[in-house]
Amino acid sequence: MSQYPNNCKYTKEHEWIRADGAAYVVGITSFAAEQLGDVTYVDLPKPGKEVKQGDSTAAVESVKAASDIYAPAGGRVSAVNDALADAPEIVNQSPFDDGWFFKLENVNAADLDSLMDADAYEKYVGAQH
């Protein structure tokens, strides 16, 4: 049983993606949030933006560093988490739920096949240490 949610798929850059009705919701993992430390700013895409898998789609800043958030799959941005503008610390508090970044629709399902499941991601993170 992985410490990471089984209903998500994972990237090597520590994003997760999960089905949410007809769309998919994207965020960063608890491991990524912990590595970043206190998140201080989240830069989100405009809804309607078309992205390909691996495109830099959002950015996150912490006290220590700034990093890009890449689209785990191609699709169109259908919603963003506006709550992060005033309270970016939600990313640290609830990385897999309230701290989501954006939603994608018209997702290219084939892109999801290339991602890791929870067990594979846990092994991947373990190997990073």
Partner: protein, 353 residues
């Protein structure tokens, strides 16, 4: 990596340890912002045992030291400290230092860990100057509650005003106590023998208002106060004129680098380390280029989110003509909008109360 005598304490407290100039030190415990806010509200403990300390005794040794630094040790009143720098012949900053005059010819000098291998032989070229860094731990207690708490362990601390220092004792052991720091808050730096460091650290943490803090909070706190960090905001490629230390140069005496420095001062036209801020939570970062109307004019040396001011903050080398507070510039690959501001960026510190 070298370890301080408090290393196991940091691990036991859940500290996340990183490499800082070859030393294993905690970057954070509970979280950088939480530790930052706690320091501004109550009191935090910092382990700075990696830093360099020297005892300098006797008139000849003090004078030899005075030749090495841009501050004038003989102008410091007994019981006080003074900030300055050790320079190369070219006027570049080898390290910044604080010299405490504990007696007429009894000095205690504090330097940084990074350049210690260069600094130590220079100071110790005089036989009455001793590098005590390896035997000395340094615990700092910083925050508005620091004095009330420390007074219960070391009552002498209440006699000190800002930037004063003295010898004192804890449980019969001699220590050096200075009312200085880098957070902008009321606080003390305690220079203690390694052997008592764990006991004192644990004792101070028994006070409910005291929490441990790491390098991360130290960095956000000092950046809000616009204190430059040796090795990051300045090194041998920068002079004190550029690094915001112009007022700490004792021009009326000789010291290594003075000649080059005077030439630079007279020629003018050098960039100056200047505080900057953003209009939102995005932060400038170390090594971001600074642009004026698209033209590169400078470089950011420190940058972070400022938890107490709620915006991105930093320090950047900028031509003097652009340093007037409120000057609008951009920084970094995405042309982050920044503006110059005044020192300190955070103005409600308690260090002088």
């Amino acid at each position: 990596m070298r370890r301080t005598p408090l290393h196991d304490e940091h691990l036991a407290l859940g500290g996340k340890v990183v490499d800082f100039h070859g030393w294993a030190l905690p970057v954070q415990f509970a979280g950088i912002i939480e530790e930052h806010n706690h320091t501004r509200a109550k009191a935090a403990l910092f382990d700075c045992s990696h830093m360099g300390e020297f005892t300098i005794r006797g008139e000849a040794a003090v004078k030899a030291f005075g030749d090495l630094v841009c501050l004038d040790p003989l102008k410091i009143p007994v019981g006080r400290g003074k900030y300055g720098a050790m320079l190369t012949e070219n006027g570049g900053i080898i390290d910044d230092v604080i010299a405490f005059r504990l007696g007429e010819f009894d000095f205690y000098v504090v330097t940084n860990a990074g350049p210690l291998e260069i600094v130590s032989p220079k100071i110790c070229s005089s036989s009455d100057a001793v590098d005590v860094s390896d035997d000395t731990a340094k615990i700092d207690i910083q925050g508005p509650s620091a004095r009330d708490i420390l007074a219960q362990e070391i009552p002498e601390c209440t006699t000190l005003k800002y930037y004063q220092a003295r010898r004192a004792q804890w449980k019969g052991v001699d220590i050096v106590l200075a009312r200085t720091g880098y957070t902008g808050e009321l606080g003390f730096e305690l220079f203690i023998p390694n052997e008592i460091s764990v006991d004192l650290w644990r004792k101070l943490l028994t006070y409910p208002d005291v929490k441990p803090a790491g390098l991360g909070a130290r960095d956000t706190l000092r950046t809000e106060m616009c204190y430059g960090l040796s090795g990051q905001d300045f090194d041998e490629s920068r002079t004190p004129l550029e690094a915001g230390m112009a007022s700490f140069i004792a021009w009326d005496k000789d010291f290594v680098g003075r000649h080059a420095l005077a030439k630079k001062r007279d020629a003018g036209g050098y960039p100056v380390l200047t505080p900057i801020k953003t209009s939102d939570r995005r932060a400038p970062r170390h090594e971001f280029e600074v642009k004026n109307n698209g033209e590169v004019v400078g470089v950011v040396t420190s940058g972070t989110f400022g938890p107490s001011v709620g915006c991105g903050i930093g320090l950047a080398y900028i031509p003097e003509s652009l340093t007037r507070p409120g000057t609008k510039l951009t920084a970094g690959p995405r042309d982050l909008e920044i503006e110059t501001t005044t020192i300190p960026i955070y103005t409600k510190g308690t260090c002088r109360v």
